[in-house]
Amino acid sequence: MSKITLVAFQWVPPFAQGLVRDLRVRWALEEAGVEYEQKLLAPGENNTPEYRALQPFGQVPVYHEGDLTLFESGSIVMHVAQRSPVLLPMDQAGRAKVLQWMFAALNSVEPHVLNYTALDTFFANEEWSKGRRPSAEKTMRGRLEGLSRGLGTREYFVDRFTAADLLMTTVLRFMRDTKVVADYPNLAALQARCEARPAFKRALEAQMANFVKYAPKAA
């Protein structure tokens, strides 16, 4: 396999540490047992024209594998999963089911989770955020209820651990400063089960190590 390079940030503020989306890709690569190098962006480097040509929205991660360059964490996880039986079943129907739950994580759940957490993370001082909270919480909880029902008594979304559980766990992590996930015991158990995987721990440590190394000096 060609050399793999993952592009991530040198440092992010504490509220985002352990949540930045390169975590998903690191985790997938750890599960697949694939080695990778990292290229870390200094502040502002994500907004240069050169970087925007690789990632139109100035986000991380970006993934290089030989001549191939990919963006969007979900698509990179899918790309890694396609060559790893750990992350994706071999049969077409099983693969379709995993894809279904991956998009459910990123389109039916994540946007509503972030709408809610952003009220505290980014908009706590905005007058409008108080008025917005009840409807944002109601929609978010509706989606988690649906998700909880969709998982039911199963341990994983599709038969066994797959890329779908990986993405869903990273979405549930966005709620870590709240007690919301605990209200859905099967989702909390799924998150704990997935976060106990050695590959997850290695991925999280790898991300956090950069933030320690590049922490801004105290003024």
């Binding site: 925007r52 139109p56 990919l70 790309h79 990123l106 946007p111 649906g146």
Partner: protein, 216 residues
């Protein structure tokens, strides 16, 4: 054998943007015939339906024995076994990346803006929140136009990625955000003039017309 599950009717504001549209469009592009099964609001709350679609949404597509939800996953799945995804592995990966970009980097702000305009236009929070949200979405769309550049489609020839992106745009029809962006407007018009798109849209609208609630 394909069976598409969708709603019999939605209010006029949402007609032409219900998410069975990308699935119908993909099926039309690959020349597949499909049956339609309609589920009303009450049925979408039932245990039986929630077992197929946990969030109570549409569409669901039944493909022989396989039942799938999430419109982008369905379109990508249809692409895996048809020309809708490029055969070249690198282009194929790029097309998948754009499908995720449409649903995870563009759609959330599009939906958030629509939620204010359709459900919270007369609330204080909606009025205060809207300008900043619109600005951030406008920036996203500018970035998208920049990335599209002089190309006709997101990746090589027309693909599943364009189906998903263009149907995300449709939830902005009540605004000028796409039509004021010359590159995206041209891209949208190029895709929406495809015969398969017209057939898919007509089929969706015809269903709603047939099930129009009678005036009280």
């Amino acid at each position: 054998m394909y069976t598409l599950i969708t709603m019999p009717w939605v209010p006029p504001t949402f007609q032409g943007q219900v998410r069975d549209l990308p699935v119908r469009w993909a099926l039309e592009e690959i020349g597949a015939t499909y049956e339609v099964r309609l589920v009303d609001d009450a049925h979408r709350e039932s245990e039986a339906y929630r077992a197929k679609q946990p969030f109570g949404k549409v569409p669901v597509l039944e493909i022989d024995g396989l039942t799938l939800f999430e419109s982008a996953a369905i379109v990508q799945h249809l692409g895996e076994t048809s020309w809708l995804l490029p055969a070249d592995p690198s282009l194929r990966a790029q097309a998948r990346a754009w499908m995720f970009a449409a649903m995870n980097s563009i759609d959330p702000d599009v939906i958030a803006l629509g939620d204010i305009d359709h459900f919270a236009a007369d609330t204080a929070w909606g009025r205060e929140r809207r300008p900043e949200l619109e600005k951030s979405l406008r920036n996203r769309l500018d970035d998208l136009a920049q990335a599209l550049g002089a190309r006709e489609y997101l990746v090589g020839p027309f693909s599943a990625a364009d189906i998903v992106m263009i149907t995300v745009f449709r939830a902005l029809r009540h605004t000028a955000l796409i039509s004021q962006n010359p590159a995206l407007r041209a891209y949208r018009d190029r895709c929406e003039t495809r015969a398969a798109f017209r057939r898919a849209l007509d089929a969706q609208l015809q269903t709603f017309q047939l099930h129009e609630p009678s005036a009280a």
